[in-house]
Amino acid sequence: MESKRLELKLPVAVVGPLIEFLLPLARETGDAALGFEPNLDAIEEDFRADWRADIAGQSQDDQTRFSAIFDTDEFRKDGVAEFAPEDCEPLLRAASALRLKLRARKLGALADSALEEGEIDFARLNKEERLAISTYMFLASLQEIVIRHLDPSGDE
C-alpha cells in the first residue's frame, strides 16, 4: 500500500530566506555534517574512527533528505514542502543537527539559558545572528510539527 505523503505549507516570504540560509549548512559532508562532537572516551581506540564516520554519515544522509524536501521550485514558489512519512525521522534528526551546528557556529554569543528559555534580545544581535536565531527557532517549530504527527499521544 502506498503511504500518504505529507505536505507543509509555509509562508515562503518568511521561511524562504531561512531555508536559503540553512541549505549550505545542510549540504556539508564528512565531519562537517556532525551536529556535535561525539564523546568516544570509553570506546576502544581501534573503533573510534569507524564510529565517528558512521555518525557523520548518518547525519549527512539526514541533512541531504532535509535539503531535498526544501530545495525545490515548488517550495520557492508556493512554500509547499512535501515529503513521505519515512522522511519524518531523518527530518527530525537533520533539524536537530542543524540547530546544533547553528548554536556552535553562529550563536556562540548567546548563553545556554537564553537559548533554553527562548529569552532572546534581538536588539543586541547583529544581522547574521538574527537570521541564525530565526532559523534556529523555525527548526524547532518544524520539529514540534513533525513530533506531533509522529506521536500524537505525547504531551509537552
Binding site: F36, A42, D54, L92, S153
Partner: protein
Amino acid sequence: MSVAAPKTKRKSATRKKTVPQPTSPWMVVVLNDPVNLMSYVVLVFKKVLGFTEAKARKHMLEVHKKGRSVVWTGERERAEAYAQTLQSWQLSAQIEHSSDGK
C-alpha cells in the same frame, strides 16, 4: 523490561577481544544540552530505548534538571549500540563503566 533492539551501523563486527571485558555493567548516559527540545528527547527515548511515555519523560526531566541520566545498563556491546544510535539522533550520549563511580 522489553527494549527495542538497538540499531547500529557499525561496520566493525569483528571486534578484537584482546582485553578481557569487565563483567559488571556498562551504563548509557545522556547529558543535557541546551539545544534539543524536551519533546524531541522524549520521542527519541521512546523510539530508541522502547520507553513508555512516562519513563521517557522521567529520564528527560532528569537530564534537564540534573544534567545527566543513566538510560540503560547492561553489557558493553549493547550499551555501545544504544549510545551510537542516540548519538545519531544528535543526543549527547556516552557509555561509562559502573565502576567509574559517577
